[in-house]
């Protein structure tokens, strides 16, 4: 393990308590809702926020008492924090200079990095004149320039446009692959998380709620937040082998579970009917439409009832079924599309 | 030379006459008169119940400037005839009278480290000497005295006023300085004064005058200063009668 940390930070109205291990060359992504404590965790790792308790071990060395400047850590901040008085080039060359490289060497290295970020022509520009995305890329280059053994990124791709994002994501991916240190990344974007992360750590309210490979988490979310994140409907109930009881409903699922269990299915697996359907789908209940919004090419319908559920239907269906908020509606999910797993 | 008003009956002899309205009298006086004039002011108030004497002490030059700019002063007591002349030239001063003279002495620290005994010793380049600047009365007097003695002294500093000069001696920064006898007395033993004969050729006159539009009370105050009672207070502080 490269990084092994227990991070406890106490704030007046908030407590963060995370165990975090990151292997050699591994990329761990912290995913969590706003205010979950992701930034706080990164700051603690970087040495900018003192730990209330806990320890941080990097390559076998305890660093929690080292000051920030002596931790072999590179940080990309959520709002860039590029030095306003230095050109893009000098921002990037700052770290190498601090590491004792000659001015020429540091500038050469910075030029190379900016070039790789597609910013060669902006090297003499001050941050105030950079657009949001340009600034973000300079910040990324600046953090990479110190060749850190622990790389911390707080929403590194948030300000990038889709085009640039693809490129920078690949660039980042490539850097991270050739990087034998540990990487901790914070993002809100499930796609970024899925693409970049070897392992996801989902944080809510200062604590880890789920941890694992992206595909595993996408398949078996354990909290409402994660479920929504990956676009699933998720409920917690009690399994008795065949069926899982949630609220007043009893769900049939692909898998057999006994004891506390989760039930999950995708919004596109949900069918809506004006009248009670006759057919065979065994998971059926009546609800009331709560809200409707466009979602990609489809329409996402939120239905209240014994359980709240999201359904994706085609725009044609909306017109055909005359779906309007407040209207009662029948909801059905096929058992073959419903997954159950132990809670 | 002094002018006429000598010998008039001291006004303090007539206490009851002007008791009617509480009257205020504003006196502008050179800073070196602070102690003596404050005492005289109290005596004046005691002798003239219901009157209040307010002093404005400062550098004579500043006071002259203020008076020519319309300051509400009734009496001006200056530390040099030159400053009084500024006021007189502006047509603001009444009759001027020299009420005291001040004489120079050599001031040395009590331990007298440079073993200074007379004016000639000040010419020794190893002796650090402070003089007043030529522009202020004590400096002008020092130049006169040294000229009279035919001596040339190179001071380390030309001070803005006597007090500053004296401070340098008190703190031992200089070995000797030329200051007024009054200042040596006021320093209460922190410096030793050495009189020297050439001082008689460099005596500084202090003129006093009532000012334009001054109330009658102003002349009474001037009279008090010129009276024997005034002389007593002033000579006690080291001033010499004119």
């Amino acid at each position: 393990m490269t990084l092994r940390a227990r991070i406890v930070v106490e704030r007046p109205a908030f407590r963060l308590d995370l165990d975090l291990t990151v292997g050699r060359g591994e990329v761990v992504t912290l995913l969590g809702p706003n205010g979950a404590g992701k930034t706080t965790a990164l700051r603690a790792l970087a040495g900018l926020t003192p730990l209330t308790e806990g320890s941080i071990e990097l390559d076998g060395v305890r660093i929690e008492h080292e000051p920030a400047e002596r931790r072999p850590v590179g940080v990309v901040f959520q709002d860039y924090l590029l030095f306003p008085h230095l050109s893009a080039l000098d921002n990037v060359a700052f770290g190498p200079r601090c590491q004792g490289r000659s001015k020429a060497e540091a500038r050469r290295r910075a030029e190379e990095l900016l070039d790789r970020m597609g910013l060669a022509e902006f090297s003499s520009v001050r941050p105030r004149r950079l657009s949001g995305g340009q600034a973000q890329r300079v910040a990324l280059a600046r953090a990479l320039a110190v060749e850190p053994r622990l790389l911390l990124l707080d929403e590194p791709l948030a300000a990038l446009d889709a085009h640039t994002r693809l490129e920078i994501r690949s660039e980042l991916r490539r850097r991270l692959t050739g990087f034998d240190g540990a990487t901790v990344l914070v993002t809100h974007d499930p796609l970024d998380a899925m693409v970049l992360a070897d392992r996801l750590v989902v944080v809510e309210n200062g604590a880890v709620v789920q941890e694992g490979a992206p595909t595993e988490i996408a398949r078996r979310p354990r909290t409402d937040y994660v479920a929504r994140l990956v676009g699933l409907n998720l409920y917690r109930g009690e399994g008795d082998g065949d069926r899982v009881t949630v609220g007043g409903l009893s769900f049939a699922a692909e898998e057999h579970v006994t004891g506390p269990a989760f039930v999950a299915f995708a919004p596109r697996a949900v069918a809506l009917y004006r009248a009670r359907p006759d057919g065979s789908p065994r998971n059926l209940w009546e609800g009331r439409i709560d809200g409707i919004e466009r979602h990609g090419d489809n329409v996402r319908v939120h239905v209240d009832g014994p359980v709240a559920v999201a359904a994706d239907v085609t725009p044609a269906a909306v017109a055909e079924l005359d779906l309007t908020p407040g209207r009662p509606i029948w909801v059905s999910v096929k058992a073959t599309e419903t997954h159950a797993y132990p809670a | 030379g002094s002018s006429s008003t000598d010998g008039a009956a001291p006004s303090s002899a007539a206490p009851a006459t002007s008791a009617a309205a509480p009257a205020e009298l504003t006196v502008f006086a050179a800073a070196s008169l602070t102690g003596t004039f404050t005492e005289l002011g109290e005596q004046f108030e005691a002798a003239n119940p219901g009157t209040k004497v307010t002093f404005n002490f400062g550098s004579s030059a500043t006071l002259a400037q203020q008076i020519t700019q319309g300051a509400p002063a009734a009496v001006f007591a200056a530390a040099s005839p030159a400053t009084m002349k500024t006021v007189a030239d502006a047509g603001l001063a009444g009759t001027q009278t020299v009420f005291v003279k001040n004489k120079l002495e050599i001031a040395v620290p009590p331990d007298n480290p440079a073993k200074v005994e007379n004016l000639k010793d000040l010419t020794d380049p190893k002796v650090k000497v402070a003089l007043c600047a030529e522009q202020v009365p004590c400096g002008a007097a020092a130049v006169k005295a040294l000229d009279a003695a035919g001596l040339k002294v190179t001071p380390v500093t030309l001070e803005q006023d006597v007090k500053a000069t004296l401070t340098k001696v008190e703190l031992g920064e200089v070995d000797a300085a030329l200051v007024y006898k009054t200042d040596v007395i006021a320093s209460a033993g922190k410096v030793t004064g050495i009189p020297f004969p050439e001082a008689d050729q460099a005596i500084n006159d202090y003129p006093i005058a009532t000012l334009k539009d001054a109330p009658a009370l102003a002349q009474k105050f001037v009279d008090l200063v010129l009276s024997q009672q005034g002389k007593d207070v002033l000579t006690k502080a080291g001033f010499e009668a004119p």
């Binding site: 920030a68 | 800073a31 102690g35 002093f55 404005n56 400062g58 500043t62 300051a71 007090k163």
Partner: protein
């Protein structure tokens, strides 16, 4: 968690501190402490102290009211001659205070350019009054405020002001509700400089307002007169002035820091 001590900063800082504080120690050592109680019970001393505090505070208020907008004008607007005006603001700093007092007499004195008009129109004359002391102190102290606040304004992020403008705030509202709170530390620093300078003001005050006990005799003037008669008393008076001002500054900062946290 703390870094190594940055000696290259701490050593000069400590030297600087020593340079400022040692002379004070010299005064403390030399002061005739035994006479302190007697001094403090003299009504004239207390009166001078009160007058000093009142006039310095009033002068600071005037400087804030006129100086902060002036700093804003210099920092945030562009008009012909702005650079020259900005340099002229430093004039009262460079002017020897006694000359400053003379200049004030020439303008606001009974026979001054503006003063004679004040006198004939309102029968009101500034020199030799407490108001005159306030004017002299404000004149000498205002540049400190203006320059400090202008520096703070230039260092502040104007994008917050833009955001306020898009919310419908007029330039004055932007100034009052956004700019001013953002540069509060700078205004405080400038205010402290200004107040302290006003409190220590001597030359312009004695020249413009004279030296009348209870009316225009502030502590520095009392110290000057004490130097004429009893030099050691002057030291005691200075220390009293210092102690009071340090106490007030410590109390103010606490209050202010408390409010901002």
């Amino acid at each position: 968690m703390r870094s190594r001590v940055p000696w290259l900063l701490v050593v000069p800082a400590v030297l600087g501190m020593a340079f400022l504080v040692l002379p004070l120690a010299g005064l403390l050592v030399r002061a005739p402490w035994s006479t302190l109680p007697r001094r403090l019970s003299e009504p004239q001393v207390l009166e001078a102290l009160r007058l000093s505090l009142v006039t310095a505070s009033l002068a600071t208020v005037i400087c804030l009211v006129l100086g902060v907008p002036l700093a804003w004008l210099l920092a945030r607007t562009d008009f012909p001659g702005r650079r020259l005006l900005r340099a002229l603001v430093t004039v009262p700093l460079v002017l020897p205070p006694v000359v400053g007092g003379v200049a004030l007499l020439l303008v606001l004195g009974r026979r001054g350019l503006v003063g004679q008009w004040l006198e004939s129109a309102f029968g009101f004359s500034l020199p030799f009054t407490t108001a005159g002391v306030v004017v002299a102190e404000a004149f000498v102290a205002m540049p400190f405020l203006v320059i400090a606040v202008e520096g703070a304004l230039r260092a502040a992020d104007v994008r917050y002001e833009e955001a306020a403008a898009t919310l419908g705030a007029s330039r004055f509202t932007v100034f009052r509700r956004v700019t001013l709170p953002l540069v509060a530390p700078g205004v405080l620093a400038g205010g402290v400089l200004c107040w302290a300078r006003a409190l220590g003001e001597f030359g312009a005050t004695i020249t413009f307002a004279g030296n009348f006990p209870g009316r225009t005799q502030t502590m520095p003037l009392a110290v000057y007169l004490a130097l004429e008669t009893e030099p050691e008393a002057a030291i005691v008076l200075s220390l009293v002035l210092l102690a009071v001002s340090v106490l007030i500054l410590v109390a103010l900062r606490d209050r202010w820091v408390g409010a901002a946290a």
